[in-house]
Amino acid sequence: MLNDELFLNKNIFSDSVEKKATREGYGDELVILGDENNNIVVLTADLAESTKVDKFQKKYPDRFFECGIAEQSMVAVAAGFGVNGKRAFSSSYATFSPGKNWETIRTTVAYNDSDVKIAGHHAGLMTAQDGATHQALEDIALMRVLPNMKVLCPCDYYEAMKVTKTAGENYGPFYLRFTREVTPVITTEATPFTLGENYSYWISEKPQCIVFATGYTLYYALLAASLLKKEGIELEVINISSIKPINKEFIVSKVKNVRKVLTVEDHQVAGGMGSLIAEILSQECPSFIEFVGMNDQFGESGTFSELVSKYSIDEKGIIKLIYKLLKKS
């Protein structure tokens, strides 16, 4: 059942569930942060509208900087702001930033410990019809290997606001991952988000498998849990929106008595959130584990629903791997 203590959206499994894009949460929260803190500056590389920073641009034109189609320059300009008393949000598509400008981020943001927040938009397969060039499937891996860098991937609109707020209220390098399409609103304004904490969104008295999901794929994991419950199969579903830092003790404590684990993400399995969970468990709590995600492959053009179905990152793909796990002993 949905965890009552987290004030989740009770309407989540209804056909009429509200849908909003996480990128909207980023844009809306930036306007609030801009009002609270004069040192917040926002940069983009010719993508103001689609990264939703146009709202900030309209309200605070003096603190908005258009860098042109130049992601290396943009993130280094942000790094200059960040070492000089400003808190800079650098906004582009994840394929370009951190895709194209990774070394610049490594040197001028991470190693330099500059106060820069890198917002990677249009991440994952759900960038859909634009095709594989624009579907960032490697960005979590690229960012989580950098010392000083924190990595957050919100599950819905309200959590997108909260991760943006957290980055806006804490010094240092952050990577924030956002997606393009509208997706179900899972949380409410009252749902907690804390840097370095992870929460069980679906709980059972005696779970047979622990599911870790990040980003909008959390919805499919919850949907799978509710469908499997009707079949008498109990799961626990944990939201890994705080990828780095992550609460290792919490994760191990959940898996300890179950030892069957599934991870779910719209990202390459290699180096992604699933790899991270496997790294933790292989040391602390070896378990049977299956991974939902991209397996050393590129995406392609198609509609969002066609792609999640073809690459098995929807509830059907999840259920299939749960059955596979349950057979293991």
Binding site: A70, A76, F81, V83, N84, T104, T107, T108
Partner: protein
């Protein structure tokens, strides 16, 4: 700002440049690795910046109104470390820790290791962009300090440099000055053979920058050009400083093989002897 620099000041700055060169040779000899030609060629520019032009307090490196000096071509950092120590940022004896374990003087500069560095650099092409962020934040804060960037000429092969040149003029950053160490060498050879830069003046001018061309080993010219940039409005300035790589040591001058290697003990001995001779020459000239 001083436009006319006295003979006495020129002599003082020339002597400081020699002290910087001597310190560079000693540092590289001890470290047994590092770059030689670039730092020697830049000693005059660093002397003028730290002992004449920059508004700064070595004992208060975080002073918020200080002029900012960004080093984009981080591999020439021995010249910056030597100049910082000579001007009082840290004890001279610490120079011998260059590139050693636990040293604050990393092989390429690391901002959070040593106060006064402003940025982290090494990978090329990232200094002007960072300086733009600093210059824009100065405008937001209505501060009137100046932001200087030292870059290499070979570094202009990097695309990011041209991205940032466009942005500097788009935001009319008249509080930003880029100094190019135009020494015509890079690791694989002469710049015009590796990837021709041709007429950098014309290139910067067409990108909307104010351009000054100088002899980068001439103290008076360096000082006067840095004074002049204060009077340029509505656009950033580039000073193309023609320098001699390895300047001051005859067998290193203009030889690209000295770009990325340190002197051996016998070579250092000859180099230091030549620098002492130059010191006597300065005395006789004035």
């Amino acid at each position: 700002m001083l436009n006319d620099i006295t003979d006495k000041k020129v002599k003082f700055l020339e002597e400081k440049a020699l002290e910087i060169r001597e310190a560079i040779i000693h540092m590289l000899l001890t470290a047994k690795s590092g770059h030689t030609a670039g730092p020697l060629g830049l000693a005059d520019i660093f002397s003028v910046l730290y002992f004449h032009t920059l508004n700064h307090f070595p004992h208060d490196p975080e002073w918020e109104d200080r002029d900012r000096l960004i080093l984009s071509n981080g591999h020439v950092c021995p010249v910056r470390y030597a100049t910082m120590a000579l001007s009082g940022y840290f004890p001279l004896k610490e120079l011998s820790t260059l590139r050693q374990l636990d040293s604050r003087l990393q092989g390429h500069p690391h901002r959070t290791s040593l106060p006064g560095l402003e940025t982290t650099s090494g990978p090329l092409g990232e200094g002007i962009s960072q300086a733009i962020g600093i210059a824009l934040s100065a405008k937001l804060d209505q501060k009137d300090y100046h932001v200087y960037v030292i870059t290499g000429d070979g570094e202009h092969n990097e695309g990011n440099i041209w991205e940032s040149i466009m942005m500097g003029s788009r935001y009319k950053l008249d509080n930003l000055t880029v100094i190019i160490d135009r020494n015509n060498i890079q690791i694989d050879g002469f710049t015009e053979n590796v990837m021709p830069l041709d007429d950098l003046s014309a290139k910067y001018e067409s990108f909307g920058w104010f351009v000054i061309d100088i002899d980068g080993n001439n103290i008076s010219e360096i000082a006067q050009s840095l004074a002049k940039v204060q009077n340029i409005h509505e656009k950033p300035t580039v000073i193309i400083a023609h320098t001699i790589p390895g300047k001051g040591v005859d067998f290193m001058q203009n030889d690209y093989l000295w770009h990325g290697k340190p002197p051996k003990p016998d070579e250092a001995k000859v180099a230091l002897k030549e620098l002492r001779t130059l010191k006597n020459k300065i005395e006789n000239d004035y």
